[in-house]
């Protein structure tokens, strides 16, 4: 039972993490009798004998039950095709839209056009079937009509949410905004004025950039303080086209 790395060290694919008897968690493979190797670039985690690596970057893999934000890319008779930033394109059937639609009599374009963002849940997904969205399960689901949607790296999502949602709660309370972080790395920011939205976007971007560092919460608090001070500088637009206002 030997560990070759410390908890939270950065490891690269092919790094021998440990030898002995452990359990295999995410992004770890066992090779031979007792060798455990990392398969992605990320931070090493050991917990109760389970070895895993938290990826620093990577594609978003849909999971049933995930709440995601997607952009409508195509419309067919009874459903929308939605880009959820994963290798697989999702569909949102008209029957799973929060409003009752009769696709035979109604033009579903009235509810969602190409380019619109929609917030929904992944209802079905497996290796054989493309993801199916459902926008009826919660009242929050449906077309995004106000606020701003920005894109962040999907692997950084847990950090922006914080443990049990602590980070997002802090931001919402301090900024008086309503920020929704979707599992696929889209962040939806709503607030009463554009200054607040800009501040929220800047902080979210900062958290994304520094997601892998320590002492993030205190730095976020500090940034909140400077942003809220009366001499706060006018905000910069730092969206670089990877999101869009709605």
């Amino acid at each position: 039972m030997t560990l070759y790395f410390k908890h939270r060290d950065i490891v690269t694919p092919g790094d021998l993490l440990a030898r002995g008897r452990f359990r295999v968690g995410a992004n770890v493979v066992k090779v031979g009798e007792d060798g455990y190797y990392a398969t992605v670039l990320g931070s090493f985690e050991v917990q109760n004998g389970v070895l895993s690596v938290r990826a620093l970057r990577g594609p978003y893999m849909p999971r049933k039950g995930d709440r995601v934000i997607g952009m409508v890319v195509d419309i067919s008779m009874g459903s929308w095709s939605v880009d959820i930033r994963s290798p697989y394109e999702a569909t949102l059937p008209a029957g799973r839209f929060p409003v009752r639609i009769n696709p035979v009599l109604d033009d579903i374009r009235k509810y969602l056009k190409v380019g619109d963002y929609v917030y929904a849940e992944i209802a079905e997904f497996d290796r054989f079937r493309a993801p199916v969205l459902d926008a009826t399960a919660s009242r929050e689901f449906g077309p995004i009509k106000q606020g701003v949607v920005v894109a962040i790296e999907p692997t950084r999502v847990p950090r922006v949410i914080g443990r049990n949602g602590s980070m997002i709660k802090l931001l919402n309370k301090e900024l008086n905004a309503n920020i929704v972080v979707a599992q696929n790395g889209y962040v939806w920011v709503r607030a009463n004025d554009s200054t607040t939205i800009n501040r929220a976007v800047r902080i979210v971007k900062m958290i994304e950039a520094e997601a892998h560092t320590q002492g993030l919460t205190s730095r976020v608090e500090e940034m909140l303080k400077t942003l809220k001070s009366p001499s706060a500088q006018p905000s910069v637009s730092g969206e670089e086209g990877n999101g869009g206002s709605v």
Binding site: R8, I10, T12, G14, V40, R57, F128, R163, H212, T213
Partner: protein
């Protein structure tokens, strides 16, 4: 063999044209995350060889019928820029480039967990900006860190370097002159941690002993390159420690 008498590629005491010893690599520089509009990217300089690699995907395979139900397909394109060589190279893919694309794909494939992304495609674009021998091996070395930066799961990085026979001696990491006037050239790619060879080609003739000597020399070179690859990947996220 056809070594012209006027060129001395290696002196009696084992010093090469560019001043290296027989077991020395050319100076190597690697960087990861150099491009914005792709999933992963890398840049490598090995001596005068300069290569840029971009990775796209996994993304949906188009046209649909090329998709495989059980795994992702890996597509590689090895391409030399028209300005990468002495004489202008036609930008159209040559016979050699098509072959190298295939060979590189087969060197990278064993390392990747392609079955994690069924029905998708992963594209690897290898652009040779300046060619000075060893482009396929440098391309593989760079492609594997670009794939790692894209977050695609893999058993190990793939690292490659060539050995050759020059003036009767087995030497590591040939440069252009040695490649052209030497007696043999043998590029090898490995998964270093797993000690597995994924590519071995030989152009020229080597005795059994020379081949073994060459493989050992390659292992030494690959060890150095492997640690540089890891350094490059770690540097992408410097500040190293992670907290949750």
């Amino acid at each position: 063999m056809c070594l012209s008498e006027s060129i001395v590629l290696i002196t009696q005491d084992g010093v090469r044209l560019d001043g290296r010893r027989i077991d020395e690599l050319r100076p190597v520089k690697m960087q990861v995350g150099v491009l914005k509009n792709c999933s992963g990217s890398a840049y490598i300089e090995q001596g005068k060889t300069k290569i840029l690699v971009a990775v796209q995907g996994p993304r949906e395979a188009h046209p649909k019928h090329i998709a495989l139900p059980g795994r992702a397909i890996l597509r590689t394109r090895y391409h030399m820029a028209p300005f990468s060589t002495d004489e202008r190279k036609s930008p159209a893919p040559s016979r050699r480039e098509v072959e190298l694309s295939k060979v590189i794909r087969e060197a990278l494939e064993p390392a990747l967990f392609l079955e994690e992304y069924p029905k998708t495609v992963i594209d690897v674009f290898i652009e040779v900006l300046q060619a000075d021998a060893g482009t396929r091996s440098a391309g593989i070395t760079a492609a594997s860190i670009a794939l790692a930066e894209a977050g695609i799961p893999m058993r190990d990085l793939v690292t490659a370097v060539a050995v050759g026979k020059v003036g009767g001696k087995v030497v590591l990491d040939l440069n252009e002159a040695e490649d052209e006037h030497g007696e043999a050239d043998m590029p090898i790619a490995m998964m270093p941690s797993l000690n597995k060879i994924t590519l071995l080609q030989l152009n020229g003739r080597l005795t059994r002993q020379e081949l073994e000597e060459g493989v050992n020399l390659v292992k030494k070179g690959i060890k150095e390159l492997y640690s540089l690859q890891k350094q490059a990947l770690r540097a992408r996220f410097s500040g190293a420690q992670v907290e949750v």
